[in-house]
């Protein structure tokens, strides 16, 4: 099992993701350079947080045209697992692998704090080790995380259980106070209808050891590992 982490100019969470996979999970991992057109046989591609290409124009708007993204899009369209965290989520919506858009936070401030996230659907390779209703403590750090789509599309997302995470309080209650950015329906993470592409604004790679204040990010990485591991193999 091999993880790939894309580095764009301006990515700044690529090493955090690398450390989480390699040093905490003990799994094989490769950096994938934005100018490369080779996914190096990775089984899952992570688009990390940061400010790819300076976030000029809009977050993720320029990154979607990089050579590596052409391969990532092909990989995702053939069923490969692709996970976008924060800026990675913005890139996934910009390139059309996920629906909707991430707009400026409704309060116009950069939001950098621990939040709580409720697992809405565990029938996903990214949450299969969680229970529905589990509350995860994970930080956010973004200025443009306000998830938006027009009404009928939100209805479609909800009806098809494509909302994977929702912002909540520590007891799992959904309210506007627990919403860090104004996202519609407190949406913090969604997947595509096939389930192989996930985007989320919070940073699971930052909470994988006790010393970091939470280990809830591991539940997501362990889920990925569990879904990639071929059944009935010994190694």
């Amino acid at each position: 099992m091999k993880f790939g982490i894309v580095t764009f100019p301006g990515s700044n969470c690529d090493y955090d993701a690398y450390a989480a996979v390699k040093h905490v999970m003990g799994e094989e991992v490769e950096f994938l350079w934005h100018k490369s057109a080779d996914l190096l046989g990775c089984d899952i591609v992570i688009l990390p947080g940061g400010f790819s290409y300076g976030d000029y124009l809009r977050g993720g708007a320029i990154a979607k045209f990089s050579p590596i993204m052409e391969q990532v899009i092909k990989f995702a369209n053939s069923g490969g697992m692709v996970m976008g965290i924060c800026n990675g989520f913005q890139i996934l919506t910009e390139c059309g692998l996920l629906p909707g858009a991430l707009m400026r936070n409704s309060h116009l401030r950069f939001s950098c704090k621990f939040i709580y996230l409720r697992v809405e659907n565990n029938n996903s390779p990214y949450t299969c080790n969680c229970n529905v209703g589990d509350v995860l403590k994970i930080p956010v750090a973004h200025g443009e995380g306000n998830y938006y789509h027009f009404g009928s599309e939100i209805d479609r997302l909800e009806k098809n259980n494509l909302v994977i995470f929702r912002y909540c309080d520590k007891d799992g209650n959904i309210s506007s106070e627990s919403n860090p950015n104004g996202s519609i329906n407190n949406i913090g993470g969604i997947c595509n209808k096939e389930g192989n592409v996930l985007g989320m604004m919070p940073h699971p790679e930052r909470v994988v050891e006790d010393i970091l204040g939470s280990t809830d990010g591991l539940k997501i990485f362990e889920s990925i590992k569990a879904s990639l591991k071929p059944a009935n193999t010994l190694s």
């Binding site: 124009l57 809009r58 708007a61 045209f65 919506t93 910009e94 629906p99 909707g100 858009a101 707009m103 400026r104 936070n105 409704s106 309060h107 116009l108 938006y148 789509h149 027009f150 104004g182």
Partner: protein, 93 residues
């Protein structure tokens, strides 16, 4: 050698200009516009009942380019605007 495109000096030519205006679609909340509107009200400019923000791009188009309308719309929908939340208009000078 000095690159005129980088220094912002106009290249001597018959090039044309196109201006693209990008704005949030109607019905999409524009918190920056709301904040600016509040500031105007506090300043006493109460006749302005709402503010919507946006941005514009000036594109210099090589003289003699063909099919430019179609190509401008491609550029707008692929890159300059996010069609999920934004609309655009093109003005040719």
């Amino acid at each position: 050698m000095e690159d005129e495109r980088l220094t912002g000096k106009m290249i001597m030519s018959n090039n044309k200009k196109a201006i693209v205006y990008v704005r949030l679609k109607e019905g999409v909340l524009d918190p920056q516009g709301v904040t600016i509107h509040k500031a105007l009200s506090q300043m006493g400019y109460n006749e302005f009942v709402s503010v919507r923000t946006g941005r514009f791009f000036e594109l210099e188009v090589e003289a003699g380019s063909t099919n430019i309308d179609k190509r401008l719309h491609e550029v707008c929908s692929k890159l300059l605007a996010n069609p999920v939340i934004e609309s655009y208009t093109v003005e040719k000078l």
